[in-house]
C-alpha cells in the first residue's frame, strides 16, 4: 500500500519548533531494526517497541495504529527504513518517550470515516503473510474484535459466530472491506437487505445463516 498521508491533525502537531533531527530518527530506527534485515523493522521489532510503551501488541488496537503512523504499508508485517523515517518525521518523534506522550492520540476513536476506512484497509494489508492476498479465517477472527467494536460494526458478534461455523475459509480484501461497508449499510435486523445486490457472496451466506438461525 502506498503511504498514507497522515491526518491533518497529526500534521499540525508535528510543526512545533522542537522538531527532531533526522539523525535521531535514524538512530531510533536502528535500535528497532531486524537484526537479520537491518533495512526494516519486523513484527518483533514492533513488539519490542510496544512492550517499551507498555501496550499489548496482540490485543491493543493502538499497536496497529502506531504501525500505520510509523509508515508501515508497502509490505505486510514490516516497516522499511524510508517509511519509518518519513513516518517519524511526520509524527515528529524519535524516542519511546515521545511516542509515549502521543499514545492517547492513537486511539482510532479520533478517526473520521475516511481515516478509519484507510486504517481498516491497512490492518488487512499489514497482516497478510508474504505474497498471500488473502488472510485465513482464524487470523481474521482475531483481528476483527480488535479493530471493530459494536459501535462501528453492529453485525460484529453475529458475523464472528457465522465465521466460527464456516469451514476452511480465506478472506479477501474485498470481503474485509465490504464488511465495514456492510455494517453501515445493512441494518442489524437485515430489514433492508436485498437479494442479488453488489455484496460479495460471503454476505449472502451470512444473511442466510442469520435467517436460518432465527437471529434476523
Amino acid at each position: 500500500m502506498s503511504k498514507k498521508p497522515s491526518s491533518a491533525s497529526t500534521a499540525k502537531r508535528s510543526t512545533p519548533s522542537s522538531s527532531v533531527s533526522s539523525t535521531e530518527r535514524e538512530e531510533f530506527f536502528n535500535s528497532l531494526a531486524d537484526p537479520e534485515d537491518p533495512e526494516s523493522i519486523s513484527i518483533e521489532g514492533l513488539g519490542t517497541l510496544c512492550e517499551q510503551l507498555g501496550i499489548d501488541a496482540s490485543s491493543d488496537i493502538r499497536a496497529l495504529v502506531l504501525a500505520q503512523k510509523l509508515g508501515a504499508g508497502s509490505q505486510p508485517g514490516k516497516i522499511t527504513r524510508a517509511e519509518f523515517l518519513e513516518g517519524t518525521r511526520l509524527m515528529n518523534v524519535a524516542t519511546v518517550a515521545q511516542i509515549q506522550a502521543r499514545l492517547p492520540s492513537l486511539d482510532p476513536g479520533f478517526m473520521d470515516r475516511t481515516e478509519f476506512r484507510d486504517f481498516y484497509r491497512f490492518v488487512f494489508q499489514f497482516n497478510r503473510e508474504g505474497t498471500h492476498k488473502t488472510i485465513e479465517k482464524s487470523l481474521i477472527m482475531g483481528l476483527l474484535p480488535i479493530v471493530l467494536d459494536s459501535n462501528r460494526a453492529p453485525h460484529l458478534d453475529f458475523f464472528m459466530q457465522f465465521l466460527e461455523q464456516q469451514g476452511e475459509l480465506r478472506i479477501t480484501l474485498d470481503q474485509w472491506e465490504s464488511f465495514l461497508q456492510f455494517n453501515s449499510a445493512i441494518r442489524l435486523d437485515l430489514s433492508n437487505w436485498e437479494e442479488g445486490g453488489a455484496w460479495p457472496l460471503l454476505f449472502d451466506d451470512y444473511v442466510e445463516w442469520r435467517k436460518k438461525n432465527g437471529s434476523a
Binding site: 476506512r117 474485498d174 442479488g196
Partner: protein
C-alpha cells in the same frame, strides 16, 4: 263573427313590434316587404356560394308552388332555407323576381294555398330575423330606387293580387273568410320613388285579440272529430286545410293548452277501446291483436301529428312540451302497454315465443319483430326504454338460465366436438335472432351472456375432457411431415373462417384422414373461443402448459432418458405437432406461435441433458440416420434440429458435446459425411457466430493436414521399420480437440510405432511436440480361436490387454492393472467389453458380484500381423485409426460421456469455460465503460453471453469478486455498488 280579429301567419313575430299600436299600416306592403326581405337577406348572407344550386332550388320551388303540392312545398321551403345561405347577389334579384311571378300566379289561381305560402315565407322570416343588420340592409335594398324596376312592378303585382284574393275571399265563404276579413286593407303603397332614402316605418297588424269561448269550443270539436275520423280510417273525407287551419287558429288564439288537452283526451278514448280489445284476446293471438292495434294507432298518430304541425312548432316549442307525436306515443305506452295485464302478458308471450323457437318450433318472427319495434318506438321521453325494461332484461335473464342449464346438461353427456358443434349451431341461431327481431343494442349484451354461459364457463371442462377434449385432440393431431400441404390447407381454412361472426365454421380444406376431423374440431374450438378474451387467455395458458407437460413426459420417460435419438425425435415430433396445430387450426395466431416457442424453451432448458441429447442425436444422424435421405431431406432435418438448438440456453454445453462427438466421428470413422457435417457447421455458425465453430472448423482442417502428413510418412523409409504393422496417425492441433488423456503403459508393438512416428514427425517439423492419445486409437487384429480365425477391431487399450494374453493364458485383474498402469475404472470398462456373453473373447472365472477378479483365457487369442495403431495426441498430438477389415463390436461399450459433470449436469470443462467467458465479458465491459453500477454490469454481462449460455447472477458475482481480488476492477470506496476498471500501470 267580426268581433275578433287575427292576423295571417305571415305577421307572426319575430319582429319586435309594439303590440299596442293601433295604427294599422299598409298590411300588404308589410307582407311583401317582410317576405322579400327575408328571402333577400338570407340570400345575401353568403354571396360567394353556389348560385346555380339556388337557381335550381328556386326553379323547383316555382314549380311546386304552381302545382300546389303544399306538403312537399313546406319541406322544400325548409330545404331552401338551408340553401339560402349560398345565394349570390345577382341570383337573389333574379330569384326574387321569379318567385314573385310564381307567387302571383299561385295567389291568383289557388287562394287556399296561401296558408302554405305563408309558411314558406315565415320560414324565410325566421331566418332573416336572426340579424337586424341584415334586416336593415334588406329594407334598404327594397326601397332603393335603383333596384330593378321590374322587381318593383312585381311587388305591385303581388299587392294587387293579394287585394283581389282577399276580396274574393270576402265574397265567398271560404274557410278562411273570417280571418281574412279581419285584415284591414289599405291601398297605401309608400312613395318609394319620391323619397327613396326615407326611413321606413311600419307597424304590426296585431290588434286586440278577443276570444270567443264558443268559437274555441267549436274549433276544438272540429279537431276531436277529425281525430275520430282519422281513426275510422276515413281521413280522405277530411279537408286537411280546414283542420290544419283550425289547429293553427287555436294556437294563435292562445288556446294551445286547450288544444293539447283535447288531443290527449280524444286519443285516450281510442286507446281505451284498444285496451279492451287486447285484454279480451287470450293466448297466442294476444301478440297479434296488440300488433294490429299498434298499427292502427301508429298510422293515426302520424296523420294527426301532420295536422298539428303548427302546434308542434310554436306552442310545444315555447312551452317546452312534448310535440304531438311524442305525446301520443307516450299515451300509447302509458295507457296500453303499461296496463298491468297487458304488460305482464306481453312479457310472458314474448319470452314464451322465443323459448318455443329455441326448442326448435316455428314462430311468427315478423310478429315478434313488430311488437319489439313497437316497444322501442314508444320509448319516448323515458330514461330506460320500454324494450329494455319490459323485454330485454327478462330476455337476457331467461337466455342466461336457458343456456346455463342446457350447456351443463349437454356437456356432461356429450363429447367435446359434439358440444362445440352444438354451440356453433346455437350461436348461429342467436345471431339469426338478432337480425330477425332483436334490437341491435341487444347484441353486445346477448353476446356477453352467450360467451359466458356457452364458452367461458365450460372451456376448462372442454380442454380437459377425457378422450375427446382439446388436450386429447392435441395429442391425436398428426403433424404433416411434408410441410407443403400445410400451407395450402391453412390458407383455405382462414378464408372459410373469416366470414363468420358468432357462428361456427364452414368446413375448411380437408387435411386427410382422421386428422381432418381433429383439425376441424380444433379449428372450431379456436373460432369459438379464440375471440373471447378470457377464453383466449385460458387457451393460451393451457397450450403452453400442455407443451411443457408433454416435454416433461419426454424428458422423464425411461426410454428417452437413455436414448437421445428417441428424445430428439420425440421433441421434433412434438414441435411439428404444435406448429401444425397453430398453423392449421389456430390460423397462425402470432401470440400462440410465440407461446409455443416459449413453452419449448422452458422445458428444454429445464433439463441439462437436452444439450447432450441434441448432440448425441446429431451424432447418430451423421453416423446412421441420414443414410438414404435426399439432400433436401437432410437439410430440413438439420433445420429442425437448429430450431431446437435455438431454444437451448446452454449452447456452450452443446458445443462441448458436439465437439467431442465430432472428434470421435472424425477420428473413429472410416468415412465421414464431409458435406453434411460442414452444412451443419455452417448452420451453427449462422446461429451463433464465427467463434462458436472455430474449433469444429479446425478439426476438419487437421484432418486434411493429417492426410498430407501421412502421405509424406508413407513415402518415407520409416514404415519399413515396423515390419508387418501398418500405422495410421492423425496429427491434431491442441485446443481444437477435446481428448481425454488416459495414462497407459502401451504394449511393445505400439510403443515402437509411437517412437517411429515421433522421430519422423520431429524430423519434418522441428520444434513441435507430440503428445500421444492412445485412448482414441483402435487396432485391427486377427484372433486365433479354437473354432477358427476371427478378425476384429478393438481399442488400443483393449489391444494392450489382449497382447498380455500372448504372454500367458490367465491374468488376474490386479496383474493386468499393474502391467498397464491405467485407471481402474477405465481398465474395468475395457475388460468388460471383452467379456460380454455375446462376444466372449476373454472369459472371466470369478463368480458372483466380485466382478473381474480373475480372468482366464477360454479361447486362446493368438494374434498376428495386420495391426494398426491408434493414437491421438494433443499439442500436435496424434490419433490413429486402422485400415479396412470387418470386425467385432468390442469397442462399442466405450462410449463414455465426458469425465466429470457438475451438480446441474454441466460438464466441468464447460463450467470452467463459462467462468473464463464471464470474466472476460466483465473485463471487456468494464474496460469500455470504466465505471459501472452493479446491476447494469450484471445485465450487460447476461446480454453479452446470452448467445452462448445464460449465466446465473451468482456466477457473475463470483467472477466479479475474483476480478476484484486480482485487481482488474475495484469497488468505489464511497459506493460499494459501483465498480471501476483498474487500468494496468
Amino acid at each position: 263573427m267580426k268581433d275578433y280579429c287575427i292576423e295571417l301567419p305571415l305577421f307572426l313575430p319575430p319582429f319586435p313590434v309594439p303590440e299596442e299600436t293601433e295604427t294599422i299600416d299598409c298590411p300588404q306592403t308589410t307582407v311583401r316587404r317582410k317576405t322579400y326581405k327575408g328571402l333577400l337577406s338570407a340570400a345575401k348572407k353568403n354571396v360567394q356560394e353556389d348560385a346555380p344550386t339556388i337557381e335550381a332550388e328556386l326553379g323547383k320551388l316555382e314549380k311546386e308552388l304552381a302545382a300546389g303540392e303544399y306538403h312537399d312545398l313546406f319541406q322544400l321551403a325548409q330545404l331552401q332555407h338551408h340553401h339560402e345561405h349560398c345565394a349570390s347577389q345577382l341570383s337573389v334579384r333574379e330569384s326574387l323576381s321569379r318567385l314573385e311571378t310564381a307567387l302571383c300566379q299561385v295567389i291568383r289561381s289557388h287562394n287556399h294555398k296561401l296558408v302554405m305560402l305563408n309558411m314558406v315565407m315565415s320560414k324565410h322570416q325566421q331566418t332573416a330575423s336572426s340579424s337586424s343588420v341584415i334586416q336593415g340592409d334588406a329594407f334598404e335594398a327594397l326601397l332603393n330606387p335603383t333596384f330593378n324596376p321590374h322587381y318593383l312592378q312585381a311587388i305591385d303585382q303581388v299587392v294587387h293580387n293579394m287585394d283581389n284574393w282577399i276580396g274574393s275571399c270576402l265574397r265567398k265563404h271560404v274557410p278562411f273568410a273570417d280571418e281574412v276579413a279581419s285584415l284591414e286593407i289599405r291601398e297605401e303603397v309608400p312613395h318609394m320613388s319620391a323619397a327613396p332614402k326615407q326611413t321606413f316605418k311600419f307597424t304590426s297588424t296585431i290588434g286586440r285579440v278577443k276570444i270567443d269561448a264558443n268559437a274555441v269550443q267549436n274549433q276544438l270539436r272540429i279537431i276531436s272529430n277529425a281525430i275520430d275520423t282519422i281513426y275510422q280510417r276515413s281521413s280522405s273525407q277530411l279537408s286537411f286545410n280546414e283542420i290544419y287551419g283550425t289547429a293553427y287558429n287555436l294556437v294563435l288564439q292562445k288556446q294551445g293548452d286547450a288544444l293539447y288537452d283535447r288531443i290527449q283526451e280524444t286519443c285516450a278514448v281510442h286507446l281505451s277501446h284498444s285496451v279492451a280489445r287486447i285484454v279480451s284476446t287470450e293466448g297466442t293471438s294476444f301478440l297479434q291483436t296488440l300488433a294490429q292495434e299498434w298499427t292502427t294507432h301508429s298510422t293515426a298518430f302520424e296523420s294527426i301529428a301532420r295536422v298539428l304541425m303548427y302546434m308542434d312548432r310554436t306552442y310545444c316549442d315555447q312551452k317546452k312540451k312534448a310535440d304531438s307525436l311524442t305525446l301520443m306515443l307516450s299515451l300509447f305506452r302509458d295507457r296500453v302497454v303499461y296496463v298491468p295485464e297487458i304488460r305482464h302478458t306481453l312479457r310472458q308471450q314474448l319470452l314464451a315465443q322465443i323459448l318455443q323457437e329455441r326448442r326448435g318450433n316455428i314462430i311468427d318472427r315478423s310478429l315478434l319483430r313488430e311488437v319489439l319495434l313497437m316497444m322501442a318506438r314508444v320509448s319516448v321521453q323515458c330514461a330506460v326504454s320500454v324494450y329494455e325494461e319490459d323485454f330485454e332484461q327478462f330476455f337476457l335473464t331467461e337466455t342466461e338460465q336457458f343456456y346455463r342449464e342446457e350447456s351443463l346438461a349437454f356437456i356432461t353427456t356429450h363429447t367435446c366436438p359434439e358440444y362445440m358443434t352444438k354451440v356453433t349451431r346455437r350461436l348461429a341461431e342467436e345471431s339469426e335472432r338478432l337480425t330477425n327481431y332483436l334490437a341491435t343494442e341487444t347484441e353486445p349484451k346477448l353476446r356477453a351472456i352467450l360467451e359466458q354461459q356457452l364458452l367461458t364457463t365450460h372451456i376448462r371442462t372442454l380442454i380437459d375432457m377425457e378422450h375427446t377434449g382439446i388436450l386429447a385432440l392435441y395429442r391425436s393431431f398428426q403433424p404433416n411431415i411434408h410441410g407443403t400441404d400445410v400451407e395450402v390447407a391453412s390458407a383455405a381454412g382462414s378464408v372459410s373462417a373469416s366470414a363468420l361472426l358468432l357462428s361456427g365454421s364452414g368446413s375448411g380444406a380437408s387435411v386427410g384422414g382422421a386428422n381432418a376431423s381433429t383439425v376441424e374440431d380444433l379449428k372450431r374450438f379456436f373460432l369459438l373461443f379464440g375471440r373471447v378474451v378470457p377464453c383466449f387467455a385460458i387457451l393460451y395458458e393451457t397450450l403452453g402448459k400442455e407443451i411443457v407437460r408433454r416435454g416433461q413426459e419426454i424428458l422423464s420417460s425411461q426410454e428417452t432418458a437413455r436414448d437421445p435419438v428417441a428424445f430428439v425425435k420425440d421433441v421434433l415430433y412434438l414441435k411439428d405437432q404444435y406448429d401444425g396445430i397453430v398453423q392449421l387450426a389456430y390460423r397462425h395466431d402470432k401470440r400462440l406461435e410465440a407461446k409455443v416457442k416459449e413453452a419449448f424453451k422452458s422445458f428444454i432448458n429445464n433439463d441439462h441433458r437436452t444439450a447432450a441429447h441434441l448432440s448425441a442425436y446429431l451424432d447418430d444422424f451423421f453416423r446412421r440416420g441420414m443414410q438414404g435421405l435426399s439432400e433436401t431431406d437432410i437439410n430440413t432435418q438439420l433445420d429442425k434440429v437448429i430450431v431446437i438448438f435455438r431454444f437451448l440456453s446452454d449452447k456452450d454445453v452443446f458445443e462441448d458435446f458436439y465437439n467431442k462427438a465430432l472428434s470421435k466421428r472424425l477420428l473413429g470413422q472410416k468415412t465421414v459425411a464431409d458435406d453434411q457435417e460442414k452444412l451443419m457447421i455452417a448452420k451453427l455458425k449462422n446461429e451463433c457466430g464465427l467463434s462458436f465453430t472455430t474449433k469444429m472448423e479446425g478439426m476438419f482442417m487437421d484432418m486434411n493436414l493429417s492426410k498430407a502428413v501421412m502421405d509424406v510418412y508413407r513415402a518415407s523409409t520409416y514404415p519399413s521399420r515396423l515390419g508387418p504393422w501398418e500405422m495410421d496417425v492423425q496429427v491434431l492441433t491442441m485446443g481444437h480437440w477435446s481428448v481425454p488423456a488416459v495414462p497407459c503403459r502401451l504394449s511393445t508393438e505400439l510403443d515402437v510405432m509411437q517412437q517411429t512416428f515421433t522421430e519422423f514427425y520431429t524430423n519434418e517439423h522441428s520444434g513441435r511436440k507430440l503428445t500421444w492419445c492412445p485412448s482414441l486409437g483402435y487396432v485391427e487384429m486377427r484372433g486365433h480361436f479354437p473354432l477358427g480365425k476371427k478378425e476384429f477391431t478393438v481399442s488400443s487399450f483393449q489391444w494392450c490387454i489382449l497382447a498380455l494374453f500372448n504372454l500367458q493364458d490367465t491374468w488376474t485383474f490386479a496383474a493386468i492393472h499393474e502391467r498397464l498402469a491405467m485407471p481402474t475404472l477405465e481398465l474395468r470398462r475395457h475388460l468388460l467389453s471383452l467379456c460380454t456373453s455375446k462376444l466372449p473373447i476373454l472369459k472371466k472365472t470369478s463368480s458372483g458380484k466380485s466382478k473381474l477378479r480373475r480372468i482366464k483365457v477360454m479361447l486362446v487369442s493368438e494374434k498376428d500381423a495386420q495391426q494398426s495403431l491408434g493414437a491421438a495426441g494433443a499439442a500436435s498430438g496424434v490419433g490413429g485409426g486402422g485400415s479396412g477389415g470387418g470386425g467385432g463390436s468390442a469397442g462399442d461399450a466405450i462410449d463414455e460421456m465426458g469425465s466429470g459433470v457438475t451438480a446441474e449436469g454441466i460438464p466441468v470443462e464447460v463450467e470452467d469455460r463459462r467462468r473464463y467467458q464471464t470474466e472476460a465479458a466483465i473485463v471487456r465491459i468494464m474496460k469500455a465503460r470504466k465505471t459501472l453500477v452493479h446491476n447494469e454490469l450484471i445485465a450487460e454481462v447476461m446480454r453479452q453471453l446470452s448467445h452462448l449460455f445464460s449465466p446465473t447472477v451468482q456466477l457473475i458475482r463470483k467472477c466479479i469478486e475474483r476480478l476484484i481480488e486480482r485487481d482488474y476492477i475495484q469497488r468505489d470506496p464511497e459506493d460499494s455498488r459501483l465498480y471501476s476498471y483498474v487500468a494496468l500501470a
